[in-house]
Subunit: 321 residues, 2 copies
Amino acid sequence: MPLDVADLVDRARNGQPRAVARLISLVEDAHPALREVAAALTPHTGHARVIGLTGPPGVGKSTSTSVLVSALRAEGKRVGVLAIDPSSPFSGGALLGDRIRMTEHASDSGVFIRSMATRGHLGGLSWATPQAVRVLDAAGFDVVLIETVGVGQSEVDVVRLADTTVVLLAPGLGDGVQAAKAGVLEIADVFVVNKADREGVDTVVRDLKQLIAFARREIRGESWRQPVVRTVAARGEGVPELVKALSGHHDWLVAHGELARRRADRAASEVAAIALRELRARLTDPHRGGHLPSVAKKVADQALDPYAAADELLAALRDEA
Amino acid sequence: MPLDVADLVDRARNGQPRAVARLISLVEDAHPALREVAAALTPHTGHARVIGLTGPPGVGKSTSTSVLVSALRAEGKRVGVLAIDPSSPFSGGALLGDRIRMTEHASDSGVFIRSMATRGHLGGLSWATPQAVRVLDAAGFDVVLIETVGVGQSEVDVVRLADTTVVLLAPGLGDGVQAAKAGVLEIADVFVVNKADREGVDTVVRDLKQLIAFARREIRGESWRQPVVRTVAARGEGVPELVKALSGHHDWLVAHGELARRRADRAASEVAAIALRELRARLTDPHRGGHLPSVAKKVADQALDPYAAADELLAALRDEA
């Protein structure tokens, strides 16, 4: 049976979770119908607030996501969750355990949860995730949460595609703030210090605030002050404050024209990933005239250096265009 | 002072570690002289055996690398080590501790150790690592060890560029073999079960051998039987057996024409990464006529879907070629 894209998109927009799931599967499979799907979805996008959550292992990301979903549901919002799954072939069972906590939302039709398993995918997470966000946005979800489960740079890069990025820290996770500082300050719009009932929380919060104050002096023209919210996600403590901080950042984005800029950045990332995947296919697929295998053999035989080989490849691409 | 590439390459080939380090820095910085460097290096490559080591955190990769370096040195071989560093912004101090163990080789001029810190690099590890291997190969190292410290898929992909890939496991690391099986069987040429003095080692080895036997039935025409070597790297136990297994695999690669195929694959990966980085720059850099920002804005404004935008981008690339 041929795929009826218009019908599938209609059903997704009418809130049928199976249609939404099918559309995201098409993204994960890089299905040929994706062009048609994207064209059908695009007019219905631009409504959803996209929130990314990231942080080191053990910080309570899944629990935080789950209680955040509950809080947003209490406000009547429909919430889609994309859990960016571990990208390592060595990941273990604990992460699956985390997933199970989310089952409390399984019976709620206003919540859609999907793990993105894009390991080995050409173009990977940067290719699939923004297109999956587009599906959820068009399907009428008010908020899309992108949560990393893995800890690689690529997962973090994907979370950064959000309108608002939440970085979670917690007391007692190794070097804490110091270890994390290289990466997190430029990523975070909102900091959460979870497990705030644990010893050492005051130190983490103080260090973090010092770091924020110090970095502010470095960034000119930046008027958003990253808030630090204390939570005990497992007991729901601090969650109203987190929701308020998220709204505050959204309002700031709108007021400063930054929302449009971030969404243009996300669109740029999406378009570039699609274009580069196509170019990679043209370069490497011998069935499409890709010359990579033949020039690579010359490089391996030391008859050509890799830059000269890349030049040959690009020239061939141009000649065939 | 302009960079004297010929002199730098000469000094690297004469065993000067500072020249080798400088060449790898040029790779990490994507220095414009890299074309010239690659052309000067290529005639001197093809000698080094490239061995990748990967495995889950806590398995003892750094210790294993260090004792393997000692064993290869005892055979009179010069050894270069590329430690692929954590790609997560949330990585902590324990990994730095691991690095320090390698300092026992610091005074040995037959050993060169370099951490590859390519976070945020356009094209990332797949761009820099094969070029760094090329540097070490041309500089006359007999063996190049690529060790992952991070656990992301991209680090693992890089290790797979080796002639021989070693996957380390150990008893007591969560779900062990079962958790790892999805990824490791297709990666590994040689398995090491490290910490073999720990309880549970027999179970890990048995499970692993069952998995290998089972997978063998699935792969036709594959006559290499992945060995399972027990080691206690911290005490040097099992290291002679590991060295023997590595030599065995190398001999098998040569005998079956597989070494040439793997090296052509590595060259293909290197060339593709160079070409795609160039294409990415042409697409995205407005100073080079990249139209990405303007088409991305149309996508964000729902005036264009992302696939149509990618088509526009690719058409513009063709017109300007």
